[in-house]
Amino acid sequence: MKNSALGRRIIACPYYVWAAIFIIVPLIMMVYYSITNPVGEFTIDNFLSLGKYSKAFLLSITYAVISTIITFLIAYPLSYAMTKLKISSQRMILMMVIFPMWMNFLIRTYSWISILANTGIINNFLVSLGFEPLKLINTPGAIILGMVYDFLPYMVLPIYTAMSKIDTSLLEASDDLGCNGWQKLKKVIFPLTLPGVVSGITMVFVPSVSTFYISQKLGGNKTMLIGDAIEYLFNIGPDHYNVASTLSLVLMVLILISMAIMNRFTDETDEGVII
């Protein structure tokens, strides 16, 4: 008994070292940077200067919420429809959802530029048909489209997993007991897939709220989301590391709060919950 506990501890050892070096130490450094100035003196000025970034925070959260809602509205019916198909077709569709993830995400974002650009595929097609070209690129819509496209698989996978685990006898029972379609969805299917939904929402919301590359490429560098601000500050030099760390810290706290709220919707014992 004792031996196996020791063995387990030894096996887990590399993980603890890993976690210490790559998670704990960077976190401590981030907190340290966020409460000091470039000379290393303790200060709260960094937090006081956050006011000017409120617009960036607001935009990031708005875009992230919108793209999370859209991915959910696409993923949920898709997952439901998938479970009604033959196993082989389910695999096929799942494959198609995952397939884009095999390509580098920078390339996927770049391809959207050539699709949406003023001289891009869509507009060239419209112009050749004699229509006026549309302004698609460098708009909030383009940024949200990029987020939805890039993060959709993270919503589909957990919901589909939860959905496919539903015991069909429960659905039959609800039919027998006189549920109509809407009631069946509301009282049976949705509660059973809730853990999947919660982890899907978390997995889409967290990367969307902190993204920077998508907004730069599809927004023409004109919108500064919170991720863009952090990237800019870290790029221009060590004098700005402190404010950048403060921004990262606040962003992290925001994400933790939203995850805590999300997790309240599910039982803690349920599978599929993140953290």
Partner: protein
């Protein structure tokens, strides 16, 4: 069937091998050299630190500068590149690696000299120094020509697409023209973007007066609603495909874009423009001073300077290149405008930390506007 397939595959492999091997062979050019290059330092290593894609490297039958130098002197050249002056600076400052020859820009050289990080050049060894145009001697960062030898010169100008912009622009204010809404590109870095606004306002680019920067920021905010996007390297694609109509960028880079899209044209706006000079110098912690001097002298050789000027596409400060009728850009009015067409120019200077932090923060305000 299998046999035929294997024969075809073997054939393909042999062919591709031939291509690869033929690509490897570099034939040394017959150089007509002015200076003397002895094998005195053969076997030593020379660390050269330069901008990326900033030296002729033998591609497209050009001269491979580094290989030619190694062949001539027996010195092993360890050539590395940087992508910004600031990266170069932190490498030199933090030590670790020592470099023998570096080629940074004007304002960074000013900082390096102020911080006593450069060695004086022994000009008696630089026998080709007379080839440098007097215009590029005694520049503000090295008035006595003690530390630097000019390597490349460039100016920012206005690139426009003649299909979309009918009249010839002569001022930066066309970048604020609502007629071209969503067709205008702008620099995506604070210093270059502010410089354009500062020219519009008639300010000094190196102003230490914060209210000057505030005014420039107001102007940049006003411009934002007309912009298609803020770009750096993406400017090539966007101008070449006609995605955008107007963009400020470097003259040398315009010539590259022009090769791919002949609808493009270039002007130097009347308010003036930013000029930069990248110069070769030797850092204090250099390990191979004599070989470094030899390399700098080698860069000035007419044949080598010509190859580099043609490869890089920026203006050369070397008179033997500028006056060579065989030079690809010989008499090019954009790279070498005559007296009458030479725009008013201002150099960037090394700006002190407080002002730099100030405008870097203003840039965030512009982006969040």
């Amino acid at each position: 069937m299998k046999r035929i397939l294997s024969i075809i595959l073997t054939f393909c492999m042999i062919c591709s091998l031939c291509v690869v091997l033929s690509g490897c062979g570099y034939t040394y050019a017959e150089l007509d050299l002015r200076g003397e290059y002895t094998k005195e330092y053969a076997g030593t290593t020379l660390n050269v630190y330069n901008w990326g894609e900033y030296i002729s490297d033998g591609s497209d039958d050009s001269i491979d500068t580094v290989k030619e130098f190694e062949h001539l002197t027996g010195i092993r050249v360890n050539y590395t590149t940087f992508d910004s002056n600031e990266t170069m600076y932190s490498q030199i400052k933090n030590g670790g690696v020592s470099y023998d020859v570096i080629i940074p820009s004007d304002y960074m050289i000013e900082r390096l000299i102020n911080e006593d990080m450069l060695l004086k050049l022994d000009t008696s060894k630089l026998t080709n120094l007379d080839l440098i145009d007097n215009k590029y001697k005694g520049l503000y960062f090295d008035e006595k020509d003690e530390f630097t030898v000019a390597y490349c010169v460039g100016m920012v100008g206005l690139i426009y697409n003649t299909k979309k912009v009918k009249q010839t622009p002569d001022s930066w204010n066309i970048l604020w023209d609502k007629k071209y809404k969503d067709d205008i590109l702008m620099f995506n870095n604070p210093r270059d973007a502010f410089a354009i606004a500062q020219f519009m306002l008639g300010q000094d680019l190196n102003s230490t007066n914060k209210s000057d920067w505030d005014k420039a920021a107001v102007l940049l905010k006003k411009q934002k609603k007309y912009l298609q996007s803020y770009v750096m390297d993406e400017v090539y694609g966007k101008m070449e495909t006609g995605e955008a109509a107007l963009a400020p960028y470097y003259a040398g880079d315009f010539l590259t874009m022009y090769e791919n899209n002949e609808d493009l044209a270039f002007v130097y706006p009347k308010e003036g423009t930013n000029i930069f000079v990248d110069s070769a110098c030797i850092p204090k912690n250099a390990q191979n001073y004599e070989a470094a001097l030899m390399f700098i002298n080698f860069l000035l050789e007419p044949d080598i300077a010509l190859a580099n000027a043609e490869y890089i596409g920026y203006a050369s400060p070397n008179t033997s290149v500028v006056n060579n009728p065989d030079y690809y850009y010989y008499g090019n009015e954009i790279l070498y405008p005559n007296e009458a067409n030479t725009p008013k120019t201002q150099y960037f200077h090394d700006i002190d930390n407080e002002i730099r932090n100030y405008y870097e923060n203003l840039w965030i305000d512009v982006k969040l506007y």
